[in-house]
């Protein structure tokens, strides 16, 4: 059944879920909703995250006057921006974990209840 004619190796925990029900799980509303919710966070988060770094590196290499502009004493924009990345990224991670626990894990539990081995459709 495999592409190059070799038999696939046994996967030890496959029997946890009845083999023919993966497609059903994949097409279920709970799974679609779960995927949508996950991507709705991950994609915008990664895009804005990359943008924050992109702007920093562009300022550092092309707009040195901005980077070197002093905000307080000897502390300049470059330093403030760099240090602000730490809490920003951490908060994004924290919000993600909370979001997944609140919005996505309940859907995962639902799928688990419905498709564990022994549960009839």
């Amino acid at each position: 059944m495999s592409a190059l004619g070799a038999k696939p190796l046994p996967t030890p925990n496959l029997e946890l879920v009845a083999a023919d029900r993966w497609t059903e799980a994949f097409q279920s509303d709970a799974f679609k909703k779960l995927s949508r919710k996950r991507f709705r966070f991950v994609v915008p988060a990664l895009v804005s995250f990359s943008f924050v770094f992109f702007v920093l590196w562009i300022i550092q290499s092309m707009f040195r006057a901005v980077a070197n502009h002093r905000v307080y004493g000897y502390i300049n924009v470059n330093f403030v921006y760099t240090m602000a990345i730490f809490p920003t990224v951490w908060i994004l991670g924290y919000v993600f974990v909370r979001y997944i626990r609140r919005e996505v894990h309940p859907l995962e539990d639902e799928l688990n209840r419905r498709f564990q081995k022994g549960v009839k459709p």
Binding site: M1, S2, A3, L4, A6, P8, L9, N13, L14, L16, V17, W22, T23, A25, F26, F31, L34, S35, R38, V42, A45, L46, F49, S50, F53, F54, W57, I58, Q60, S61, M62, R64, A67, N68, Y72, G73, Y74, I75, N76, N78, F79, T82, M83, I85, F86, V89, W90, G93, Y94, F96, V97, I100, R101, H105, L107, E108, L111, N112, F115, Q116
Partner: protein
């Protein structure tokens, strides 16, 4: 100083050997050996992950870099830290949910295992080995610098300890040694930062003023653009984005997510890693600029042109100065911790390389999954031993050559060859076995070619202009995998995608 540092180091070694002895009794099955029995809690694994990343390069290297070149060195701090957000968002939970021990588990799930697993295993093996050998060489150089013993002796000692830890204690020992080391490193870092900032009345501005008004330094140290490696925008973006996204494809990092009992713990451990990385990396500018002002970068450069001695010297200066008991003691403590750091880092790499060989290649491919549990553990131990010997010999052979580029090459291969297949496996239905094959092989070749023809090896005659090729090679890797997949067919992969998607995103049927 040497004697003090060596005795502290010996004491720490005794502790790690006890951990290994304790672990050895707990390693009975392959899950114990490769994944610490999946009994590691979120925060513990978070510390172990941080241990994996707070190598000597992070602890000694970034400080030295900033003391020589100014705040440009912070690029490593922010990207190493933030790369864990990428890991958390994209791979932490899916990896835990759908694999057993290695990176190759994920990619061979949907694809034809017999053709893709050997390729994935070889790539993981090479990446880990390329990381390992420069670490061994660095260990030799540092032992000469810090302890005053010959480089070869230091290298062999580090290699021997690594072999003992992994062969006997497997992932259990590797994890607990990382946890111990990460805690000591964080404590040491905070004491050091406290002592440095005390000299400046806990004012960052006063530290900066001292840098700006020093006759050897100047405001340039506080401004970006001094470090030649990131002078052009394209070099800066390339280094930065490769570090940010490449981490999510490093075999020894991915392997850590199998040691936790559940997806919640996988997520939790990535979050803990993010936290511990943050509390360390916010300090690096204090070490670098502190050393530049208080020790003086001419003094540092005279002792070590690589800058690795900057942080230990800073520790001695702020804890009382040379010749005082507290000064020598604190320096000795940090030196000993730095050394444990190297050994722990090499141990993590050793276990990643040995799992690629013994589990992926030997057990899954050659034995086709037919070998009893005791036999598997025996093969794993033997592989770890052999890889340790290989790393020692490799390190001794190249110790007089500058091999710093090897780690960069490993990173480039991970990001270019492994990353596209990993991401596509989890998130794209269209991936085919041949596409992944082309992507991994082609990506690795492109990455190696760009590094070999680049400035880090060919110097001024470089054909490829960038020191860090990521910004060019990673898109090529994704494109090759995509192209190979749309041009070929793989019915099984398309059907199995449904299974992997459900497994990886919901945790249905995950290994316990």
């Amino acid at each position: 100083m040497n004697r003090l540092a060596i005795s502290l180091f010996m004491a720490l070694i005794a502790v790690t050997l006890y951990i290994t002895y304790w672990s050895a009794k707990r390693v009975k099955t392959t899950t114990d050996f490769y994944a610490a029995g999946r009994k590691i809690k979120g925060w513990q694994n978070g510390l172990a992950i941080v241990g994996e990343f707070l190598t000597a390069a992070a602890f000694l290297g970034i400080g030295g870099l900033i003391s020589f070149w100014g705040v440009d060195g912070q690029i490593y701090s922010i990207t190493w830290f933030a790369s864990y957000l990428v890991v958390l968002l994209l791979v932490a939970e899916p990896i835990r949910n759908s694999g057993k021990y290695t990176f190759a588990d994920i990619v061979s799930y949907r694809l034809d295992e017999r053709s893709i697993r050997p390729v994935a295993a070889i790539s993981a093996f090479l990446i880990s080995l390329m990381y390992l050998i420069p670490q061994m060489v660095a260990a030799g150089a540092l032992s000469k610098l810090l302890f005053g013993v010959p480089a070869s002796t230091g290298l062999i000692v580090v290699g021997a300890l690594m072999i003992i830890y992994i062969t006997f204690g497997g992932m259990v020992a590797a994890t607990w040694i990382q946890v111990l080391k990460a805690m000591m490193l964080l404590c040491g870092a905070y004491v050091l930062a406290f002592l440095v900032m005390r000299q400046f009345h806990f004012s960052i501005n006063a530290l900066f003023a001292a840098v700006a008004n020093s006759k050897d330094l100047g405001t340039a140290w506080l401004e970006p653009g001094r470090w030649p490696m990131v002078r052009t925008p394209i070099e800066r973006l390339s280094l930065g984005f490769t570090l940010l996204f490449g981490t999510a494809a490093l075999p020894h990092v991915l392997m850590r997510f199998y040691t936790v009992p559940s997806k919640q713990h996988a997520q939790g451990s990535a979050m803990w890693a993010l936290t511990f990385m943050m509390i360390f990396h916010v300090l690096t500018f204090i070490f670098g600029l502190g050393a530049a002002v208080l020790v003086g970068n001419k003094v540092i450069k005279a002792l070590d042109s690589g800058g690795n001695i900057a942080v230990p010297l800073l520790a001695r200066t702020v804890a009382g100065g040379p010749g005082t008991l507290t000064g020598e003691l604190f320096m000795a403590f940090l030196v000993a911790v730095a050394f444990i750091t190297i050994i722990a880092a090499t141990s993590g790499l050793c276990i990643a390389a040995s799992s690629a060989f013994s589990y992926d290649f030997w057990f899954r491919v050659l034995k086709r999954g037919r070998q009893d549990a005791a036999g598997q553990v025996r093969t794993a131990r033997f592989a770890a031993f052999a890889i340790g010997i290989l790393a020692i010999l490799g390190g001794l052979a190249v110790q007089h050559v500058n091999v710093a580029y090897l780690a960069g090459m490993a990173f480039a291969i991970a990001a270019t060859a492994n990353m596209p297949t990993l991401i596509f496996s989890l998130y794209w239905k269209g991936l085919t076995t041949k596409g992944a094959f082309i992507g991994i092989l082609g990506g690795a070749l492109v990455a190696v070619a760009c590094v070999v023809t680049g400035p880090s090896i060919m110097g001024k005659n470089a054909i490829f202009p960038l020191n860090n090729p990521g910004i060019v090679t990673v898109p090529i890797g994704f494109f090759l995998t995509y192209l190979g997949s749309v041009l070929t067919r793989d019915k099984v992969s398309a059907i199995k995608y449904q299974e992997l998607a459900v497994r990886s995103r919901s945790g249905l049927g995950a290994e316990s």
